[in-house]
Symmetry: C2
Subunit: 113 residues, 2 copies
Protein backbone atom coordinates (compact mmCIF):
# COMPACT_ATOMS: atom_id res chain seq x y z
CA UNK A 1 0.00 0.00 0.00
CA UNK A 2 1.46 3.32 -1.03
CA UNK A 3 -0.26 6.54 -0.16
CA UNK A 4 0.80 10.13 -0.58
CA UNK A 5 4.35 9.11 -1.24
CA UNK A 6 4.77 12.07 -3.55
CA UNK A 7 4.39 14.52 -0.74
CA UNK A 8 7.85 14.49 0.83
CA UNK A 9 9.83 15.39 -2.26
CA UNK A 10 9.62 19.13 -2.15
CA UNK A 11 9.72 19.56 1.58
CA UNK A 12 12.70 21.35 3.00
CA UNK A 13 12.74 19.06 6.01
CA UNK A 14 11.50 15.48 5.97
CA UNK A 15 11.82 12.74 8.59
CA UNK A 16 11.08 9.06 8.04
CA UNK A 17 9.77 6.72 10.71
CA UNK A 18 10.83 3.25 9.62
CA UNK A 19 8.80 0.59 11.42
CA UNK A 20 9.78 -2.98 10.58
CA UNK A 21 7.93 -5.75 12.37
CA UNK A 22 7.31 -9.44 12.56
CA UNK A 23 3.68 -10.29 13.17
CA UNK A 24 2.69 -12.93 15.66
CA UNK A 25 0.80 -15.88 14.25
CA UNK A 26 -1.29 -16.47 17.33
CA UNK A 27 -3.45 -13.38 17.69
CA UNK A 28 -4.76 -11.45 14.72
CA UNK A 29 -7.97 -10.20 16.36
CA UNK A 30 -8.52 -6.55 15.64
CA UNK A 31 -5.21 -5.98 13.89
CA UNK A 32 -6.55 -4.99 10.47
CA UNK A 33 -9.08 -2.53 11.84
CA UNK A 34 -6.51 -1.00 14.18
CA UNK A 35 -3.93 -0.66 11.41
CA UNK A 36 -6.45 1.11 9.17
CA UNK A 37 -7.50 3.42 11.99
CA UNK A 38 -3.88 4.32 12.74
CA UNK A 39 -3.16 5.20 9.10
CA UNK A 40 -6.24 7.42 9.00
CA UNK A 41 -5.42 9.09 12.33
CA UNK A 42 -1.77 9.61 11.38
CA UNK A 43 -2.78 11.25 8.11
CA UNK A 44 -4.84 13.78 10.05
CA UNK A 45 -1.92 14.90 12.22
CA UNK A 46 -0.10 18.18 11.68
CA UNK A 47 3.19 17.58 9.91
CA UNK A 48 2.18 14.29 8.31
CA UNK A 49 3.55 13.97 4.77
CA UNK A 50 2.81 10.39 3.69
CA UNK A 51 2.89 6.70 4.53
CA UNK A 52 3.74 3.51 2.69
CA UNK A 53 3.59 -0.08 3.82
CA UNK A 54 4.36 -3.61 2.63
CA UNK A 55 4.01 -6.96 4.36
CA UNK A 56 5.24 -10.27 3.00
CA UNK A 57 3.34 -13.53 3.28
CA UNK A 58 5.65 -14.65 6.12
CA UNK A 59 4.38 -11.80 8.31
CA UNK A 60 7.41 -9.52 8.06
CA UNK A 61 6.40 -5.97 7.22
CA UNK A 62 7.83 -2.49 6.81
CA UNK A 63 5.85 0.72 7.20
CA UNK A 64 7.51 4.06 6.57
CA UNK A 65 5.74 7.29 7.47
CA UNK A 66 7.04 10.74 6.58
CA UNK A 67 6.83 13.87 8.71
CA UNK A 68 8.02 17.44 8.48
CA UNK A 69 9.66 17.55 11.93
CA UNK A 70 10.78 15.50 14.92
CA UNK A 71 8.20 17.38 16.96
CA UNK A 72 5.35 16.16 14.74
CA UNK A 73 6.59 12.58 15.22
CA UNK A 74 6.79 13.03 19.00
CA UNK A 75 3.24 14.36 19.14
CA UNK A 76 1.93 11.46 17.07
CA UNK A 77 3.76 8.91 19.22
CA UNK A 78 2.06 10.39 22.30
CA UNK A 79 -1.44 10.51 20.73
CA UNK A 80 -3.82 8.73 23.12
CA UNK A 81 -5.32 6.30 20.62
CA UNK A 82 -1.91 5.60 19.16
CA UNK A 83 -0.52 4.81 22.61
CA UNK A 84 -3.27 2.21 23.08
CA UNK A 85 -2.44 0.71 19.67
CA UNK A 86 1.26 0.57 20.56
CA UNK A 87 0.49 -1.32 23.77
CA UNK A 88 -1.78 -3.80 21.99
CA UNK A 89 0.92 -4.23 19.36
CA UNK A 90 3.46 -5.24 21.98
CA UNK A 91 0.98 -7.48 23.82
CA UNK A 92 -0.62 -9.23 20.85
CA UNK A 93 0.37 -8.45 17.32
CA UNK A 94 4.14 -8.06 17.06
CA UNK A 95 6.66 -10.73 17.94
CA UNK A 96 9.33 -8.07 17.53
CA UNK A 97 9.87 -4.73 15.85
CA UNK A 98 12.43 -2.06 15.11
CA UNK A 99 11.45 1.59 14.98
CA UNK A 100 13.91 4.07 13.55
CA UNK A 101 13.63 7.80 13.12
CA UNK A 102 15.76 9.14 10.27
CA UNK A 103 16.26 12.47 8.55
CA UNK A 104 15.78 12.25 4.79
CA UNK A 105 18.73 13.84 3.02
CA UNK A 106 18.06 12.82 -0.56
CA UNK A 107 15.09 11.61 -2.61
CA UNK A 108 15.26 10.11 -6.10
CA UNK A 109 12.22 9.04 -8.06
CA UNK A 110 11.58 6.86 -11.05
CA UNK A 111 10.11 7.84 -13.34
CA UNK A 112 11.29 11.37 -12.86
CA UNK A 113 8.48 13.87 -12.31
Amino acid sequence: MAANTDAPADQESCYAVIFSSQRTTSDADGYGDMAETMVRLASEQAGFLGIESARSADGFGITVSYWNSREAIAIWRAHAEHVVAQRLGRERWYANYDLRIAKVERHIRFPKV
Copy 2:
Protein backbone atom coordinates in the same frame (compact mmCIF):
# COMPACT_ATOMS: atom_id res chain seq x y z
CA MET B 1 12.83 -11.11 4.99
CA ALA B 2 14.83 -9.56 7.79
CA ALA B 3 18.57 -9.99 7.94
CA ASN B 4 21.14 -8.50 10.23
CA THR B 5 18.70 -5.93 11.50
CA ASP B 6 20.40 -5.95 14.85
CA ALA B 7 23.58 -4.54 13.43
CA PRO B 8 22.77 -0.83 13.22
CA ALA B 9 21.87 -0.33 16.87
CA ASP B 10 25.26 0.30 18.32
CA GLN B 11 26.79 2.15 15.40
CA GLU B 12 27.68 5.76 15.96
CA SER B 13 26.61 6.66 12.43
CA CYS B 14 23.93 4.84 10.47
CA TYR B 15 22.27 5.69 7.18
CA ALA B 16 19.16 4.06 5.77
CA VAL B 17 18.46 3.62 2.06
CA ILE B 18 14.69 3.34 1.78
CA PHE B 19 13.71 1.82 -1.56
CA SER B 20 9.96 1.57 -2.14
CA SER B 21 8.83 0.17 -5.45
CA GLN B 22 5.88 -1.04 -7.45
CA ARG B 23 6.67 -4.14 -9.50
CA THR B 24 5.53 -4.43 -13.08
CA THR B 25 3.21 -7.31 -13.80
CA SER B 26 4.48 -7.89 -17.31
CA ASP B 27 8.08 -8.96 -16.92
CA ALA B 28 9.31 -11.03 -14.01
CA ASP B 29 12.11 -12.84 -15.85
CA GLY B 30 15.24 -12.90 -13.82
CA TYR B 31 13.96 -10.67 -11.03
CA GLY B 32 14.22 -13.15 -8.17
CA ASP B 33 17.74 -14.22 -9.03
CA MET B 34 18.87 -10.64 -9.47
CA ALA B 35 17.32 -9.54 -6.18
CA GLU B 36 19.09 -12.36 -4.34
CA THR B 37 22.39 -11.55 -6.01
CA MET B 38 22.07 -7.87 -5.08
CA VAL B 39 21.40 -8.68 -1.41
CA ARG B 40 24.44 -10.95 -1.34
CA LEU B 41 26.67 -8.41 -3.10
CA ALA B 42 25.47 -5.54 -0.91
CA SER B 43 26.22 -7.54 2.22
CA GLU B 44 29.82 -7.95 1.06
CA GLN B 45 30.40 -4.20 0.69
CA ALA B 46 32.40 -2.18 3.17
CA GLY B 47 30.11 -0.22 5.46
CA PHE B 48 27.10 -2.50 5.00
CA LEU B 49 25.17 -2.95 8.28
CA GLY B 50 21.99 -4.82 7.35
CA ILE B 51 19.01 -5.12 5.03
CA GLU B 52 15.33 -5.88 5.42
CA SER B 53 12.64 -6.26 2.83
CA ALA B 54 8.90 -6.83 2.50
CA ARG B 55 6.65 -7.06 -0.55
CA SER B 56 2.89 -7.28 -0.50
CA ALA B 57 0.83 -9.48 -2.77
CA ASP B 58 -0.09 -6.43 -4.89
CA GLY B 59 3.56 -5.98 -5.88
CA PHE B 60 4.34 -2.98 -3.71
CA GLY B 61 7.55 -3.50 -1.74
CA ILE B 62 9.91 -1.72 0.62
CA THR B 63 13.56 -2.60 1.08
CA VAL B 64 15.67 -0.74 3.63
CA SER B 65 19.41 -1.23 3.73
CA TYR B 66 21.65 0.24 6.45
CA TRP B 67 25.13 1.65 6.00
CA ASN B 68 27.74 3.32 8.15
CA SER B 69 28.32 6.30 5.83
CA ARG B 70 27.09 8.19 2.78
CA GLU B 71 30.35 7.22 1.08
CA ALA B 72 29.61 3.49 1.48
CA ILE B 73 26.20 4.06 -0.12
CA ALA B 74 27.73 6.00 -3.02
CA ILE B 75 30.26 3.24 -3.69
CA TRP B 76 27.54 0.58 -3.66
CA ARG B 77 25.34 2.63 -6.01
CA ALA B 78 28.24 2.80 -8.47
CA HIS B 79 29.14 -0.92 -8.21
CA ALA B 80 29.24 -2.29 -11.78
CA GLU B 81 26.85 -5.22 -11.26
CA HIS B 82 24.51 -3.04 -9.25
CA VAL B 83 24.42 -0.45 -12.04
CA VAL B 84 23.32 -3.18 -14.47
CA ALA B 85 20.62 -4.28 -12.02
CA GLN B 86 19.42 -0.71 -11.64
CA ARG B 87 19.09 -0.34 -15.41
CA LEU B 88 17.19 -3.62 -15.74
CA GLY B 89 14.97 -2.53 -12.87
CA ARG B 90 13.98 0.64 -14.70
CA GLU B 91 13.55 -1.15 -18.02
CA ARG B 92 11.65 -4.22 -16.84
CA TRP B 93 10.83 -4.78 -13.22
CA TYR B 94 9.70 -1.54 -11.62
CA ALA B 95 6.73 0.51 -12.72
CA ASN B 96 7.93 3.20 -10.34
CA TYR B 97 10.10 3.61 -7.29
CA ASP B 98 11.24 6.07 -4.66
CA LEU B 99 14.75 5.92 -3.24
CA ARG B 100 15.52 7.93 -0.15
CA ILE B 101 18.74 8.27 1.78
CA ALA B 102 18.20 9.14 5.43
CA LYS B 103 20.38 9.50 8.51
CA VAL B 104 19.16 7.37 11.42
CA GLU B 105 18.89 9.49 14.54
CA ARG B 106 17.11 7.10 16.87
CA HIS B 107 16.50 3.35 17.10
CA ILE B 108 14.00 1.65 19.41
CA ARG B 109 13.57 -2.11 19.59
CA PHE B 110 10.95 -4.46 20.91
CA PRO B 111 11.61 -6.56 22.80
CA LYS B 112 14.41 -4.58 24.37
CA VAL B 113 17.78 -6.24 24.12
